[in-house]
């Protein structure tokens, strides 16, 4: 566990046409850390997550995630890496509409056998998140709060080393937000996952080990429009 979870050095990124979105001289996040990342729209949050998840390539500099040099991995290696070691929660619409809750939770394991866990484990995660009774439901029948918990269950299944959450609570009301965050922390601790939590809602920041402002470490932000 000597490698940091995330280590960026002199990273520059721009889309094919357009201004530079990322210019990050140095960013390090240790393993097991719970980091709150904030920044206004257009500050490059989504782009940074894309780079970390191995979806976006074409950056310069060094991006190491869980000890792997993302520039050196092939496309399918990055896909396998993401499928095996990463959990990802979106802001909204996290679930495949035509699958049941249980099918949604177990889908990553069915795509990548290294992630595959027993059904019992899926049930255990679902139980910890309080959605066990929903497993056979169609996802379209769930409330937004329930959907986000299902998304969390999917992201947490198989104890990923890095969990990236992209504004997962912005569509929840205050009570649900608190409960969701508590559950997330609890489960990250259980699976020993590093948590990178992105939000523009600074009221949550106090619960995290560390708060990072994208505006502080990304020199390319400032005036650019959302991408």
């Amino acid at each position: 566990m000597t490698d940091p979870a995330i280590a960026l050095r002199d990273v520059h990124f721009s889309y094919r046409t357009g201004p530079e979105i990322l210019d990050i001289p140095d960013l390090t996040i240790a393993r097991g850390e719970r980091v709150f990342l904030f920044g206004p729209s257009g500050s490059g949050k989504t782009t940074l997550l894309g780079v970390l998840a191995g979806i976006l390539t074409g950056f310069t500099g060094s991006v190491e995630v869980l000890g792997r040099d993302m520039a050196k991995l092939s496309g399918s290696q990055r896909d396998a890496f993401r499928g095996t070691h990463l959990g990802y929660i979106f802001q909204l619409f996290n679930l495949i509409p035509y699958l049941t809750v249980e099918e949604n939770i177990t889908l990553p394991g069915r795509l990548h056998s290294a992630r595959a866990k027993s059904l019992a484990e899926a049930h255990a995660v679902a139980k910890r998140l309080g959605i066990e009774h929903l497993l056979s439901r169609a996802v379209t029948q769930l409330s937004v709060g329930q959907q986000q918990r299902v998304a969390a269950a999917r992201a947490l299944l198989g104890a990923p080393e890095l969990l990236i959450a992209d504004e997962p609570t912005s569509s929840l009301d205050f009570d649900h937000r608190e409960r969701f965050l508590d559950l997330l922390f609890e489960n990250c601790a259980l699976s020993n996952s590093t948590l990178l939590f992105v939000s523009h809602d600074r009221s949550l920041a106090g619960k995290f080990d560390r708060q990072l402002s994208l505006l502080d470490f990304n020199r390319a932000h400032r005036t650019e429009a959302a991408v």
Binding site: T46, G75, R82, L86, I96, Y98, L99, L111, R115, R154
Partner: protein, 423 residues
């Protein structure tokens, strides 16, 4: 397997568009197979217009011509065969049966055929079906007449009606002067439908043909008042001099070629014998271009069906961008996104093909009797022919290939979208 179940569930989720797409592919597939069946049916019906006849024999001339006037009642003979020669071959030891035809007269555009009881006994079509009577009986007397089923239907004749036949085979109403109006015939029987040219003729006895021409000389009718009155004519005193052609069945198939050679070199009279199957095939080849045209049309129909699938898959992609981003996030590579969409179009085409096969079976079973009745076309109900299977295979492959178009688009989308939320 994961992708297959994903593809299946995704299609099931869009049940309406899925079923419409499957329906459109199914319909065009059914049409394609239907046309193929009709094609096979037409060819079969054609080849089976006449069966169990080993040789068709007539005066020397074109073999196609002999086939056309003897089987299809099209065109006419340039020369006749003497009755003596006919009797010679009829009594030949290698011959099982013969059916003589005497042609050249007509009734309101339908051919009149002089023949004998042999016609009702021996003629076979569609392998082993024989002539049957819808009502009445075969002609026994000189002026008895039997109607083919189409003739009876279109002219509305009943048993006992009087029919005047005309000399020559002019379409429509013959020249009035050429009517054998002094010697009317009586309908004694109506044949059951055969869906062959048999339906479009009237049948009398060979002696009947002789009777109506008895006073004719050099192709001209007798002067008024000089006709032999019909009352004086009996079957016994009518002497058959010549016939037009005859069908012949050998006792053994082996004898056919030998007999054909014998007939073709018969010293007494210039004659020719043809094997109907061979000549029918020649004829089919010359008129077969019609089926090619039909085929081209149906291929376009299937293209339209596949295009419909393309459109429905392609338009669904925008609402599915979200889904693709999720799949990417949980580790599905672009290859899997492509495979998912290709699988979906594959499943759609497969279901469409299956539906097409089921539909054409159902429709064939329901409409076979109607088509046979109305169009004289016997369409077999059978599993897809080799060509049918080739069609099915090609549509499946084409469906899979077409799937690459939306798949490629989805792939481009995922590259552009990454993990971002663009709804």
């Amino acid at each position: 397997m994961v992708l297959l179940s994903l593809a299946w569930k995704s299609l099931r989720n869009r049940l309406l568009t899925t079923s419409l797409t499957v329906l459109s592919i199914g319909l065009s597939m059914a049409l394609l197979l239907g046309v193929e069946n009709v094609r096979v049916g037409a060819r079969e019906s054609f080849a089976n217009t006449i069966s169990q006849t080993d040789l068709i024999v007539g005066a020397r001339g074109g073999s196609l011509q002999l086939l056309l006037y003897s089987v299809f009642r099209i065109g006419q003979a340039t020369n006749n065969v003497s009755y003596e020669s006919y009797l010679h071959w009829k009594n030949h030891p290698a011959v099982s049966w013969t059916i003589p035809y005497s042609l050249g007269d007509s009734h309101r555009g339908f051919r009149v055929v002089g023949t004998t009881e042999d016609f009702y006994q021996h003629l076979r079509f569609r392998r082993d079906r024989k002539i049957e009577f819808a009502s009445g009986r075969s002609p026994k007397d000189v002026f008895d007449l039997v109607l083919g089923s189409d003739v009876a239907q279109s002219l509305g004749y009943k048993l006992g009606d009087k029919v005047v036949i005309s000399h020559g085979i002019a379409a429509g109403r013959g020249i009035a002067d050429n009517d054998h109006k002094d010697k009317p015939f009586t309908v004694t029987g109506i044949l059951a439908k055969t869906s062959t040219p048999v339906d479009r003729s009237l049948y009398i006895q060979l002696e009947g043909i002789t009777a109506v021409h008895i006073d004719w000389a050099d192709g001209a009718p007798p002067m008024p008042g000089e006709e032999t009155p019909a009352a004086k004519i009996t079957k016994e005193n009518m002497k058959v001099e010549q016939i037009t052609s005859f069908l012949l069945r050998c006792k053994t198939r082996m004898a056919t070629l030998q007999l054909q050679r014998e007939i073709n070199t018969y010293p007494e009279e210039p004659m020719q014998a043809i094997i109907p199957g061979v000549t029918l095939q020649e004829l089919w080849r010359t008129i077969g271009y019609a089926e090619d045209a039909l085929q081209v049309v149906t291929i376009f129909v299937i293209l339209v069906g596949l295009l419909g699938m393309l459109v429905s898959l392609y338009t669904s992609l925008n609402e599915r961008r979200r889904e693709m981003a999720i799949l990417r996030a949980i580790g599905a590579g672009p290859g899997k996104i492509i495979a998912l969409l290709v699988l979906e179009s594959g499943l759609l085409s497969l279901a469409g093909c299956a539906l097409g096969v089921v539909m054409i079976y159902g429709l064939s079973i329901i409409f076979q009797p109607i088509v046979e009745q109305q169009f004289g076309l016997y369409v077999p109900v059978q599993p897809p022919t080799v060509t049918g299977w080739i069609y099915l295979g090609s549509v499946l492959i084409a469906g899979l290939l077409i799937g690459f178009v939306p798949a490629w688009k989805a792939y481009r989308n995922t590259l552009a979208d990454g993990l971002s939320v663009r709804v």
